[in-house]
Symmetry: D2
Subunit: 336 residues, 4 copies
């Protein structure tokens, strides 16, 4: 049985606690938060849970095997470093850190300590992403053309980061997981309309080799909530609308055929093909439950999590580059 | 009665002919096309119409008052110039020309000759755009935040221009008409997936003063057809879905309130407001019919068309800058 | 070449004329209407077409092989009878006649004269219905449970018939074509809200053997237009939304499994199964064009049309029974 | 403080308990169920709650003021009677009883004992129904034409009642609440497709004075979940789609105008009017929470609940009549 402590009981923390509580391989032992009302809130729901205002009680407790960190981004690096140094496995909220250098340090520290460092990229564990991943890996989509994701709604403004840091980690981690490609560079644009010091509407292009591109639209100022991702390839095209209760994923047997016969090049260069649409049943298991089980398994077996520190680093690199680009009005930022 | 000749009877030409034919102030006299099958096609529909393979027969005919040019973009400049020099009023397909320099020349030539030069920015004459324009001008939306437009579908690939030149003129002309603001600069990204030499997926950001931005997603490789525009301001937010048969335009009484009280700055900085939605009835008159009438009125009264040469030039400037930016992977191109 | 005359150039007549005109096996010769403005309207579109105010000129013309009757329902019987008696093949608008007795007479007369009598049940020739028919006939749906159709919108009120006679012939002819079952009886309810003397909202249940039922909701007083048909069977379930531009037909691999194991009868009697959804591409050919070709082929080969007089009679029988039922507030009317 | 005992901790019971627990005027004291696993389940969630296998412990406890009955329908009458006879206020699940005679008895018994008898017609307390009720009462809809409701999905089959008794109580109680009219008679049709002894698809028409009708489609065998209600009147028309996360209620300023000018009666009898659509913000408070508060207030003040025994009786009368009608294939059953 893995003893788990949670640092941070804000919006997401209670879900983490509920799932570690429900997992047969883990045992929720203790939770910390700076706000006492959050601690009494969580203790009402989990009467057996110990609470503390001081996270060091968790990190220094030899009975604790793993620490879940659910605090604001700026504190991730310090907390994760302390936890790893204390020999704890770490389950870390996204985005991983405020800089890619910090993320790299954590990756190296975990490797050196032979500890499991796993990122809470929850979407990777949803039935939807797992289904799309299978289709992509099986070659059903063909060679990829593009990944286009729209994640917009009204609010919630964050105080310390812009809308890309807040919303796009979802899309970037999904993109990274599905494409498994090294991005070349990033171009981002956006604007701060309310004078909060952070962009509230932003657009991000990521360039990959072979003319593959990805684009993400993140927006806190949209009257309607849209969660739509398009993934198109030479063979098939996917539309994933995560707002729908059913038939979230639609696979279109549509595309183009490029005919390079010289003589007829002008008229027959490109032909359209529209065919059937197919919406496979998407399993409804709670992603976080699968994820917490996976974390426990990785700790026990020593295998690398699907969403390991490197996955977290990949996301932070793009976020970091996007911020440089957006400040320089779309300047292309190359990724080493 | 204004005698009209049409040059180019391809995809759009027959609509132009039908509407000039149906207008009480104009009379369709002659049509030219290089392909004889297009001429016999149109003559079957309009038995009284004269046809010719040589557009000069139209331009040199003293009985012709106005020329409608519905040919591919690369020929617009030469044809419009000849027509204006021959003293004809010109109704010109979009985009206006291949370069902004050509567009400027045409604007000047028309002014100098005191002739009406009108761009076929059809959307400006739709009930939808006219309704939104009224709301914006009446201050109903408040101060503008952003304009975001998605125009994607499968095909039709153009042979001579990229997807921005093909699809975005609609969005750019609508944006220009609604905002009436001088854009500062342009950032565009995209990719050519099929090796046609032109981008088939592209993203365009336009920067305006006061942190207003516009973004356009144009795409020939989408399995689904989307025509959606978001326009958000300090007071209200509009969602215009042009694919819907009814309730195309939805106005949300939603937004944010920025509260700058110092003491409580952290917690109460930004408050959300979601309210009623309202979908006004959108008049269904054919836009092209209104437009052709407007052209006739402008010729007769000498007044400036709503979509004059300057409106056409504004669009071409952004298209031209977007092409430079896209080739330089998002380099910001400033507009003089 | 089959020479065709059309009687009645109202709302639908021009489509009939256009399709007989476009068919390689037929030749549109003459059209009649009581209103002279309809005749001049159609002659402007088809300059070669002869017109007349007197339908007898068509029926008595020995050069005419076939007559299409596109007049109001009350005149169908007399016109079709005269045409058949004069030796003409007849293409007849739906609903076939005002009474089932009239319809039977026409069926017998056509058989006796060895003439083709075909009903314009246009929907049967759509890609959508043909696709569903193939699925049903191939056993893909399994044993049928029910057919449920909603056809509602605002207007257009008819002056001489109620909303069932106006809208439901579509649904009844589709139901008859797909099920190929003899209905047992009919129950109908409805109301006349505006005092026009005819029901403007109505509901129709048709009982078939083996507990199969059909239900049709027809309504002239709905703020929204709905065209949705559900067809459920033991194996699969179909949702056909004819308003959608794409993916009109969705086939759900969902249903129930009845487990009759005695011991566990209470808990395991019925199990649910929800699976994939599939939306096959629906061919877009104009139904009326296929239909007119089919009519020509039937005349030439002597084979029975898919929508023959018996199909027309089946629809009228149900309409007639529904009217009796609705007047008697849902009294079950048995069909002989 | 009102002490509450709950009988029946099945699917809905835990929600009742949670809301009585959260209400400032009530105190959850004890729960009973025949299944011990349900009792341990609820005790884990509410450690302070007493539990018992014998409901008489609740009814005979003098410290208990009110009893909530959340058991299957067949037991409602006996349990409610015993509770009322023991002097307890009763909060009763819908449908109220298995027969209208039982429901009448309970209404009389509660009146005689001066106890509060309230039906859990939850929908009446939703923001959606309250908003529609306000519009109807304010005359915004004009004179009512019809109420049409569709409540269909796949499963869950009930073992002891048909689909009307299971699903339609929602629609009937909403209809009764909005219309406040005495129904004249009922016509119902349906079929039992799986041989369960109960109809799984059913259609119910309710006749009211002045040609107002209501229709309800209840179905356990639909591949898609639909919750849509249309309410049309002389002035406006409402579409309420309860599946939508936002803009659930749309009010259309559409309708017809009946013009009775004699001379032009044929052509101008009926004119259509389509206007704006408006979707007011629907409050999101949990209905059950409002309802439980209302129950407490009625107990304390002695006022009649919005959903009193008579409202429950009205629903049962229609259910009862619908069952007679459906067995007699649509025979009209008059309501006294």
């Amino acid at each position: 049985m893995i003893n788990v402590g949670v640092i941070g009981v804000g919006y997401w923390g209670p879900n983490i606690i509920r799932n570690f509580d429900g997992c047969s391989q883990t045992q929720m032992a203790i939770a910390s938060d700076l706000k006492s009302e959050r601690l009494s809130f969580i203790q009402k729901k989990h009467p057996a849970l110990k609470t503390t205002a001081d996270y060091r009680e968790i990190i220094n407790d030899p009975a604790i095997d793993a620490v879940a960190i659910c605090t604001p981004v700026f504190s991730h690096y310090e907390l994760a470093k302390e936890a790893l140094q204390a020999g704890k496995h770490v389950f870390l909220e996204k985005p991983m850190t405020s800089t890619s250098q910090q993320a790299e340090e954590l990756v190296n520290l975990a490797a050196q300590k032979k500890l499991t460092l796993m990122l809470d990229h929850t979407f990777i564990y949803t039935g939807a992403v797992q289904l799309i991943k299978k289709l992509v890996d099986a070659g059903e989509i063909g060679d990829l053309y593009y990944f286009d994701s729209v994640r917009i709604n009204l609010g919630l403004f964050q105080h310390d980061v812009n809308v890309i840091w807040d919303l796009a980690p979802h899309d970037i981690s999904i993109m990274d997981h599905l494409l498994q490609l090294k991005p070349e560079s990033v171009v981002a644009t956006g604007a701060d309309h309310v004078g909060a010091g952070h962009e509230d509407v932003a657009y991000l292009t990521v360039y990959f080799p072979n003319n593959i591109i990805a684009h993400i639209h993140a927006n806190w100022l949209s009257p309607v909530k849209i969660r739509q991702t398009l993934i198109a390839g030479t063979k098939k095209m996917i539309v994933w609308d995560d707002n729908l209760p059913n038939d979230k994923i639609k696979i279109y047997d549509s595309g183009i055929t490029v005919n390079r016969t010289k003589a007829e090049i002008y008229d027959t260069l490109i032909q359209y093909r529209t065919g059937d649409m197919w919406a496979p049943k998407v399993p409804l298991t709670e992603a976080l439950s699968l994820e917490v089980n996976h974390f426990a398994e990785c700790i026990q077996s020593g295998k690398t999590p699907l969403t390991d520190g490197v996955a977290g680093l990949n996301v932070v690199r793009i976020l970091e580059a996007s911020e440089k680009s957006i400040k320089a009005r779309g300047k292309e930022i190359r990724l080493a």
